[in-house]
C-alpha cells in the first residue's frame, strides 16, 4: 500500500482534487450512461404495455358498437 493512512490516500500527494475529479467524473459518466439506458429500457417496456392497453380499448369499443 503506497499510502500510510487513509487521509494520505485521499490527499494523493497534494493532487487529490484532480485525481478524484477525474475518477469521480469518469464514474459519474459511466453510471449516468448505464442508468439512462436502463431507464430507457423500462420506458420502452412501458410503451409496449400502453400500446397493448390501447388496442384493448379499441377492441372493447368495437365490441360495444357491434352490440348496439
Amino acid at each position: 500500500m503506497q499510502f500510510e493512512s487513509l487521509s494520505d490516500f485521499i490527499a494523493m500527494g497534494g493532487y487529490g482534487f484532480y485525481v478524484w475529479l477525474s475518477y469521480g467524473s469518469c464514474a459519474g459518466i459511466i453510471l449516468g450512461l448505464l442508468f439512462s439506458s436502463l431507464y430507457e429500457n423500462k420506458k420502452l417496456k412501458q410503451e409496449v404495455k400502453s400500446q397493448m392497453a390501447r388496442e384493448e380499448r379499441i377492441k372493447k369499443a368495437k365490441e360495444l358498437e357491434a352490440q348496439v
Binding site: 400502453s50 390501447r54 388496442e55 380499448r57
Partner: protein, 178 residues
C-alpha cells in the same frame, strides 16, 4: 349561413376577414354594431374559428392538443369528458398518440372536438364536413342544431347541401370576378 361559390371565389378569404385575420381593402367588420378592430379580444371571446389549418400540433397527443386549446381560450374541462368526446368522434385508443401518426381526417376530428367544449356565440367554420364519415357528419349537424337552438350563429362553407336539415338556413353565393 352557408357561403357557396366555386373554388377560388374567395370563400376562405371572406371567412378570414370576418374572423379578423386579414384586413379588407375597404369597409369594416362589425360585431354587435361595433367594429371588431376596436376591441378584438372582446370579439375573440365570442368567436370560434376552425380553418383549413386546424391548429392541431403534430408533436403533441390529441388529448394535449385539446387541453392546450381549452386553456388558451379560457375554458376548462375534465379528462374524462375530453376522452369521452374523443371516443364519440371515433378516436378511441388514439387519444394519447402523437397526432402526426393520425390520418388527416382524424386530425380534423381532434380540432372539431372544440365545438362541444366552448360557448362562443359565433362559429366560423371552413368546410367542417371534409374527411368525415356519415356518422361524423350526423353528429356535427346535431351539434349545429343545438348551437342554433341556443341562439348561436354559424358561418360555414361546405359543398354539402344543407337546405333540408336546417330550417333557418340562409345562403350567400359568391361569384368569381376579376
Amino acid at each position: 349561413m352557408q357561403i357557396e361559390g366555386p373554388n377560388g371565389a374567395g370563400k376562405t378569404s371572406l371567412l378570414r376577414i370576418i374572423a379578423g385575420f386579414s384586413q379588407p381593402d375597404d369597409g369594416n367588420v362589425l360585431f354587435n354594431m361595433r367594429n371588431i378592430k376596436e376591441d378584438y379580444d372582446g370579439y375573440a371571446q365570442s368567436l370560434l374559428f376552425i380553418g383549413h389549418k386546424t391548429g392541431v400540433n403534430q408533436q403533441l397527443t390529441a388529448y394535449e392538443n385539446v387541453t392546450h386549446w381549452l386553456s388558451v381560450h379560457g375554458y376548462t374541462s375534465t379528462e374524462s369528458e375530453i376522452y369521452s368526446l374523443l371516443g364519440k368522434l371515433g378516436l378511441v385508443g388514439l387519444e394519447d398518440v402523437p397526432v402526426r401518426t393520425l390520418s388527416a381526417g382524424q386530425q380534423r376530428r381532434v380540432a372539431l372536438v372544440r365545438l362541444w367544449l366552448n360557448d362562443a356565440k359565433l362559429w366560423i367554420l371552413d368546410e367542417p364536413f371534409t374527411a368525415l364519415d356519415k356518422k361524423g357528419v350526423a353528429m356535427l349537424q346535431s351539434r349545429f342544431q343545438q348551437h342554433l337552438d341556443k341562439g348561436g350563429a354559424i358561418l360555414l362553407t361546405t359543398h354539402q347541401d344543407l337546405t333540408d336539415t336546417f330550417a333557418s338556413l340562409q345562403t350567400l353565393a359568391l361569384e368569381y370576378r376579376h
